[in-house]
Subunit: 245 residues, 6 copies
């Protein structure tokens, strides 16, 4: 059976990572995954949240937003205190995922803020955000290394993410919006370059899912994430002479 | 190695379900799991959200709150528009989980609102909320059946949830707060009585986790959930002569 | 004429005070008055509000909340900045009443926060909150005495409260919800064990009231409050070996 | 013993009522009581709140505000959702008091909104607001009568209010701000021209009060209110040829 | 062609400035311009905003509000975080205009807060606010001079403002509300006594405007503003004896 | 004297307009003016605001936002109810300007919503937003014409905008951020292709300005705007076969 856009079940959409899209940010990356576009920036802040005062540890945090016409129908702006539950959940996921690959002692007493703003959405915006935010974070770490602010490279390994799901009874990789709205099971997976899991979030809203389905989705996610991590490495290598520790 | 409260790695804390703790609600259950106490009510509302207007389908939704002194240190009240990201995430999880076991056509054009308020917290409040909310929901469905509002029983199967994690390098079942704050990996699992998964949420904030660890945690969760579903059935049977379809 | 629940005009509903319902709070009491249930905790905080900086005086403050299904029809949650006028009025009353019986110099530079959360409402929730909050406050003071934080007992006397009103033309004590909604005059009275008044709030929304009616309501309130203060003393004595100054 | 401004214990401050201070409102009155100035308007609205839909009854409601420099030190503006507890309490008191003297069936299916804005505060702003709001309300009723919208006069009697308290151990009438901040007991009384009580709110924040003190304060309040009602009648008579029913 | 109130195209409405309308404020002025009434106060605050910490410079800021029945139909109160776009725009204009005539080094490290509250609105409230706020500001500066807090007079020159517009095809001065709602072009002009411009805000919402129309409106504004500045000087001189530098 | 980026006083920065940057919007344009980048979309909505119910007229409205790292230092997100005064002022200006060139009867009973989101800011974001929003609006009108929803072309003429100011004593065109922060006078001008003014907003915050300076700034603005209107026409012609009326 063919997917809505003609892809194989285990095929990613076309993905490009454009770096240096913002002249002020310490790192920036525009992720394009199919029709999904996320504009990611990394901002270095010399302060840390209160619970880290008087430690030598750093912090990584993320915010996620959508422009009003990122979607087929226009949505009201959110922001400030009017951030919905879905947005909160996504930005907590992005921040948590990237903290897992960061050595907070190597980062030292500073915060890196990752902003992921969706210019155009066609499914997979939260996982595309993680892919782009990792690149922006790596650039910001390179900037801190070049400025000799850091003594050693603070990222433990690469991290990327992809969505998988059960659509029309079959496990598929990288769902576009049309597939996402038809999926009976939806799973987001975040992994490291070392093939370890950072996050597994599988949800059966339409119906529960079996252990076999669970395992098939994890397998698809693994292959997609390894491809994305390769792209991250190439994109960072192409722009860069920042030196890893 | 002994756990902080002397349990085996695969041992649940003591769990009791007290029904009919609220004289107004169509269903109610006070869950006690170790020192965690969650007061759950189910409220039947004849309206449905706007996206279901002009369908014959129902809806199930949840809200989650914590009394200020549910925790060791007092927290400020949240509510209204000042609901934090964690609360949003939890109430979305509870609602989604219970919708998965509900036949929305059988429920018909009405909403069941589940309120889960934590009187005392000692880890596992979101999974305990799902355990209690299922019971309150089942009572509310029984009430609707007895009043002949529904033609057939709207719950497809039972649902329950538990937390698992990696503490001191070992997979353990049903983490108390002390364990939760030491865990390097934390996972919440929601399952049905048919051994299918509704939700798998595994997070490695301290460090990523391997596939073997993932599988070990799923195994522990399965055994805990099956015990909890048995308790739900007994508790409902004890109070009830409402008739399943 | 019989009251809706068969009581005499001067008869209280059944009242029980259960202490130590929360393992974290420095004081706690579940008040049950007829079908009304209020869960009260006292939390000791080492800070004081800004207007008391650089004095040696303490503070007592209260918050009041209702679980969504505390009432016959479910109410939306309030909290944060969305606290209604009624809630503000009640929590100001509770705090003011208990400050009147507290010796702020004996309490020293700390705040005791009283949280009164209504699990089930059937009239008289604000006065039941005062009854329970006094007990939680007294326990917290006992805890501070035992820890030798305080040099002398900081409570000047006991305090309790009850509602009275004019229902069907007659003055009655301790109105349940059905009576409250039929009352033409409603009065809340807070008194000390020394038979002095802390607060008298009489309101004629249906119609104004005469001086004779006013005096009859005060008389009923006095008898009810003295009974409640006796219950407070017994409940505290039963749990306690904390020593008054 | 002399009061701070030389008055006798039972002496009101100078009070003037200026009508027609707003060209748009259906009724308006600037109350001047000592240095306290409250600008009151009555606005007729053809709608009623939802709980009165499909009845033939009207509604009276009030809002209360303070200009930022109404007080000795400037206060931040409140309004919208940022209305403090004190403001809520006061506007509920004003609305409730004037509803008690309004025949809602005679008023018919409309709302009269009373806005009381304090231009300058020197104690007694809530009771001065009731004095002025009654006058504005009466003018608005007169306007409705003249336009033949109402068939009969909807006010049952006059209403006014005053503050009393215990200052330096003695009961005094009409406290200015300096006295108010020194008072150990504070009481606000609202009465009708028929010498009945609409509201009695006595509070002992500094210390509790005895029954004798309570009775002495009620006596002072009665004499002050009767004087104010006389002034209301004169002020309305001076401007007006609206006809009572 | 006659204007709605019979004025000439270049004729101001009657304008009176009443000083000392508030006993607490360091400066105060009630502006009456036709039926428009704005109550302006100036409050001296010893703090400055964070961006001026560690400089020796002062600040001038403004807030603008409208009482609910200032207008023909009653409006909901705004304030706190619920301040609309129009209000923001106006208070930014007032603050900016008066900062332009203030020597911030002469003012020294303090803030003067100008509150402009509209009691009755009939067009031109923002420009009337500037007229009155200047007077209140000048009084507050005089107060600071008399107290020897300032070494030199901190106001560089007088400032006033007026509205002009194109109504029925003709340029007119000082639009009342009826004219304002019919105007195709609306312009607010703020000038100094030295005939320089502080602010020119011309808007063609109905239609664009030509350069000739633009110039004719500026000419009218100039003549009106010079008259208003004369009135400010007289009013300040009349209450007088604070000494300019 | 040379400008900071070497331009002549009457020279615009490089400007490009990229159309069709969003696949869902009915019109879209990415404006690039020097380093300033604004992402503009036009969304057609079949509803109109309440004050246009039961008329046959349409509406045009705008929202303006900035991504957190659009600026040199990261700013907190705003949105929902937490929109600052500057943002309100700008979005009101954009909406008003484009309404002036729209024939609301030709547009018919629908709203076009213009979203202007700043990806990177270097001065002139509000005027760049008007330039791009006009293009997006024209595309949306073209889309409505092609779908035969409209009978005649609803735009009366083109509109564009630019900033001018006095920097180092000289009038200059199109200020970049560095110039903007040094300017003593700042002016934003919006004009039509017919050389008429839609909006003139001149502000002297640093000092007032003379009539000669005012006239010199208007002259510079006129030349810049005519160039920008030419670019708008070319960009629309390049993508287009939509037919003007």
């Amino acid at each position: 059976m063919l997917r809505v856009d003609g892809r194989e079940n285990n095929q990613l959409r076309e993905c490009t990572l454009t770096l240096n899209v913002n002249r002020y940010a310490e790192g920036s990356c525009l992720v394009s995954l199919g029709h999904t576009r996320v504009y990611c920036t990394a901002s270095v802040d010399d302060r840390v949240p209160p619970f880290l005062f008087n430690t030598q540890q750093g912090w990584v945090t993320a915010e996620y937003g959508m422009l009003p016409r990122a979607t087929s129908d226009r949505n009201d702006r959110e922001g400030g205190t009017r951030v919905g539950g879905r947005t909160h959940e996504i930005q907590r996921l992005i921040g948590r995922s990237l903290r897992t690959v960061t050595d907070m002692e190597a980062l030292g007493s500073r915060t890196i803020r990752l902003d992921c703003d969706v210019l155009q959405a066609d499914g997979g915006t939260r996982t595309a955000s993680i892919v782009g935010a990792y690149v922006a974070l790596a650039q910001a770490c390179g900037w801190l290394m070049e400025k000799k602010v850091l003594k050693r490279w603070p990222l433990l390994t690469e991290a990327a993410a992809i969505s998988v799901g059960i659509v029309a009874g079959e496990p598929v990789l990288d769902l576009c919006y049309t597939e996402d709205s038809q999926a009976t099971v939806d799973m987001n997976v975040v992994m490291t370059a070392k093939k370890e899991y950072i996050e597994v979030q599988g949800t059966g809203e339409g119906r529960p899912f079996t252990r076999d389905e669970h395992d098939a989705m994890l397998q698809l996610a693994w292959s997609g994430i390894m491809t994305l991590i390769e792209k991250q490495k190439q994109a960072l290598a192409a722009v860069g002479p920042y030196k890893k520790g």
